[in-house]
Symmetry: C2
Subunit: 209 residues, 2 copies
DNA sequence: AAAAAAAAGGGGCGAAAGCCCCTTTTTGAT
DNA sequence: ATCAAAAAGGGGCTTTCGCCCCTTTTTTTT
């Protein structure tokens, strides 16, 4: 019997999915969580560790990407199957990069869910044609996650005690444009704040301290 | 003839000092500045480079410590003589660490200023007994600039995407206490914001990225 | 030439950061 | 036992951040 946990802030949906999964052979849902934090809290109990987590991407408190990254590091045996309405390439890539073993759109057939779960157990991963295409495409033609020239410039300036307004002055741009760079960089790299950006930049050699 | 520049936000004072210095043999004041930024702006002109800068510590825009550090890096030939009302050990040490060749209190005799300037030219530095004592003391008994254990802990947490409130939770402290650590760390290391702290921490091995 | 991306700019708003001030509690040393 | 610190906590305020939204301008593609 494969143990599952469903993580989704929409309680109704997570309960509905639980029922569905329980109707599959060899699969049972241990419990549901409203966000990643709840899941992390539950994982301290040995008997509450699932084999698979059905993870929503957009959640409050601790979102799917963050939670998946956490699981990858602290519970590498738990397989994450992302379940989302998001069709955006950027989001899908972020989830996969965080360590998800598959990515399902919420409007897929229940039979697809079942075969996805089965393949997850037997193969270790499951990817629809769409996702597979995106994966391949991301190898060639720069992905939407790639940082632009101007954004890289911005990052170097952000690794400084300058305020964004001062950075705007230095780059001969309006403050609003610089804020735009910040927002897109945060989104691409899945960062919460400037501190995170500085650490990222140094880790990846974008800025030498 | 040794060329001087006086940098002080109190125009009257800087003018008075200029007059005084001009009355000394072998010394003349080129011009005065109201803050470090003005000085930096002037230094692009070859004929405006002084031998000595009489530098106030507390100034708006760009303070004495910052300006001295800038000069140390970009104009190492220019000698900075700090001139301040600040008697605090921490401030004095910060100025000297930034590269000042001497530190005079504003209530010293004009004869002391004259001999300080002369020694600055002949010896390269000038230190009163008081300052010399502080320097020696700072070698033994931990200086007030030394980071405490708890502050070092805080710094590690600050190199994270956590907010200060989250850091407080993690350290089992009130947010206000953590804010206190931030303020004292900023003051001791002469930092403007958390970005600066992260860079400092990584540069000095307090945090490994 | 038309359509589609990309780059630049902007409004508004709540949360976080930063900076003064100052008090209480704990701890350590004489 | 007393006194002086260091540590912890706090009030109040301004600025900066971060995050939505959305428009205009420029460049690229077809």
């Amino acid at each position: 019997m494969n143990k599952l946990v469903v993580v989704d802030d929409h309680t109704l949906l997570s309960q509905a999915i639980s029922g569905l999964v329980n109707s599959f052979e060899d699969f049972e849902v241990l419990y549901t969580c409203k966000n990643g934090q709840e899941l992390v809290d539950q994982l301290v109990f040995e008997n509450k560790r699932p084999d698979i987590v059905l993870m929503d991407v957009n959640m409050p408190i601790m979102d799917g990407i963050e939670t998946t990254a956490y699981l990858k590091e602290h519970h590498p045996n738990i397989k994450v199957l992302a379940l989302s309405v998001e069709e955006e390439e950027r989001t899908i890539l972020k989830m996969l990069r965080a360590g998800a073993k598959g990515y399902l759109l919420k409007d897929t057939e229940k039979s697809v869910l079942e075969s996805a779960l089965k393949e997850l157990i037997s193969q270790g991963f499951y990817h629809t044609n769409t996702v597979a295409q995106i994966l391949v495409r991301s190898l060639h033609e720069e992905s939407s996650l790639t940082l632009k020239e101007r954004e890289l410039e911005f990052i170097k300036h952000a690794c400084t005690e300058m305020t964004y307004n001062e950075i705007a002055d230095r780059m001969f741009l309006s403050p609003k444009t610089v804020q735009g760079y910040r927002d897109s960089v945060f989104s691409k790299l899945n960062l919460k704040n400037r501190t995170g950006l500085v650490i990222y930049a140094i880790k990846h050699g974008l800025f030498k301290p």
